[in-house]
Symmetry: C2
Subunit: 407 residues, 2 copies
Amino acid sequence: MPAIDPDRLLGDLRRLAEFGRYRTGVHRPTYSADDVAARAWLAERMADAGLEPTIDGIGDVIGRSPGAGPRLLIGSHSESQNHAGWLDGALGVIYGLEVARAVQADPGSAGGAIDVVSFADEEGHYGAFTGSRSFCGLLEEAEIDRLANRYDGTPLRTALERAGYAGRPRAEIEPERYKGFLEAHIEQGDYLESSGLKVGIVTSIVAIWQYRILFEGAQNHAGTTRMAVRKDAGLALVRLAAAIDERFPEVAGERTVWTTGRITLEPGAPSIIPGAAEMLFQFRDADPDRLTLLERALEELVAAADAAGPCRCRLEAVARSVPKLMDPHFQDALEQAAERHAPGRHMRMPSAAGHDAQILAQRVPAGMLFVPSIGGISHHWSENTADEDIVLGCQVMATAAATILGP
Amino acid sequence: MPAIDPDRLLGDLRRLAEFGRYRTGVHRPTYSADDVAARAWLAERMADAGLEPTIDGIGDVIGRSPGAGPRLLIGSHSESQNHAGWLDGALGVIYGLEVARAVQADPGSAGGAIDVVSFADEEGHYGAFTGSRSFCGLLEEAEIDRLANRYDGTPLRTALERAGYAGRPRAEIEPERYKGFLEAHIEQGDYLESSGLKVGIVTSIVAIWQYRILFEGAQNHAGTTRMAVRKDAGLALVRLAAAIDERFPEVAGERTVWTTGRITLEPGAPSIIPGAAEMLFQFRDADPDRLTLLERALEELVAAADAAGPCRCRLEAVARSVPKLMDPHFQDALEQAAERHAPGRHMRMPSAAGHDAQILAQRVPAGMLFVPSIGGISHHWSENTADEDIVLGCQVMATAAATILGP
């Protein structure tokens, strides 16, 4: 069994967190100077571990093991959300590095090897899963031409130029090289913590179904227009959102989540009755039947609102992903390893967030492991996981990797 | 009795609508090139009518009658809302001009005279009632220093410079010069039209009580955060807005109106649970007791939302104006004139919109007359009033003016 080195693991994680440090977290947006410096450092650490590192034309850092024999790819992303946590993505990358080192040093794992990867832009400063999609052959040049930073508008091409990545070839996965892909991540929720558990074995990555709901009324003067004759698009929106709040718990599964992330009233002035309104709404679930039920409920509510008047109400589907299943054998290997190192303190669970593993799963078998998030906090600089949970999770991944590489 | 000239009245209104024409309406924002040109044309028309025109340091156009004797000031504003109607403001200014001409020509009105005014920026591209407040001594230089265009940020000082008004003295009302102020305006609602009436005699200009309602929750990941532990500030807002929608009809008077004009969720991203939310809410009524009742109801709803949790909810009063009463004698004079020219087809009514008359009422007796708005449309380029209603309203105002000037 490969034995990880807790101090080396935590040391590398802490060193990585110095790139773009922000309070107790990091601010390391994709292709920022700190992100580029962190990727260069990662490549050095891969070389130190005997891997052959490249940073490719999209910024993916890939460390290939020189030997032949069965291989696993392990990793995640190393850029962060803005002013966010030190572990989101970074944990999975450094786990890859540490498991690669532990497998190399383990006589029992002779012949097997680990490649390590840090994908670029999983967090979507430019696109979404930009690096892993590139690696899986799912990112066209034309899309790269089109993408721009969603905060400051910098074209992706310009950012790649500044980072020094422009003109390099983009690496693409050779599926036959790998038994599959493993990714570790903080849970970002509080199921594990609130259940006193240490390891989550991901069964699937939930689907996200996203909608724009559009309301059309009549813009008018907020003083002179009687209540009885108004067509207030904002009020129509409020009534529908309240109806969703009433109805969705009746059709939701135990882990269904739904969110209105944005509301816009037009023109948005205090003394004008909104003539148009829009809400961005989404729900997530791992069960395709449940997703269909939820959409049907939403369609019924929107149709009822439209029929009730006086405003028109229209539903527009923005995106409907399908749940991405993790490989059952990988789940078994992770569960056996978890039972070995944390008996009775693990559970199988869906991932309610998106991860690079859902992209990799389109080309090779994929598996994911979660460690607990303190307070379930995520996408915030105060995100954290106890050191002992970080160490435990890495050992579980190393043991599972050895099992998968097999004799 | 002074007799107005319908063709001259309609001709001047149509000529004014050529400045900044937009479809069947106008786009003539305060201090835009079209607004400045329109003010210069107005000054010329005042001179043609034997008045002594000045355009002052804030852009107010004032045409003073040369004679002695009792005087009335009549007017409104000549800039428009963006892409809005041709009559909102313009009607009241051209009524002033036409009544001035009719009174001059009327042997029975000898000795009395009309001054005509077009105030600047009633519509609030920079401030609110900027011109009439200046004229009434209610606009400090320091506020002029501070104000800027709410759409493009141009400082008011810069706009005045470009318009050629900077450095001119600002005119201030001499209250002893006037028996009072009269303003005509389109109704902007549909009370008159839906009742088959032709003239509204304004009793008071309603108070507007405005609030920000602030919600504080916890920003988190829209996938990984279970419904049960969320503190969704946007959802808290929706629930309060729905509660207002339920409760306000029970405490509202017949003419109370209430509006949520803007909703903001922070950070406003599709996959992030809003950590903060804000709504701009206002209600209007002419009855001070009713206003107090409405505020109490709002306070109770906000307190209940805050107590129910999980988000904090806080009410912040932005502005509480008091209803501005129109002079009772002016109301009587307008009503008598309306009964003479449109027997049985007039009503007393509050104004649910703000008007320059509410500012003037702070210095001199003030009265207002409404003409019907087709379909109640306002602040939109399709705003309109039938020619015969425009003519009738002006004749009513001329007759009322003669009565007020008296012998």
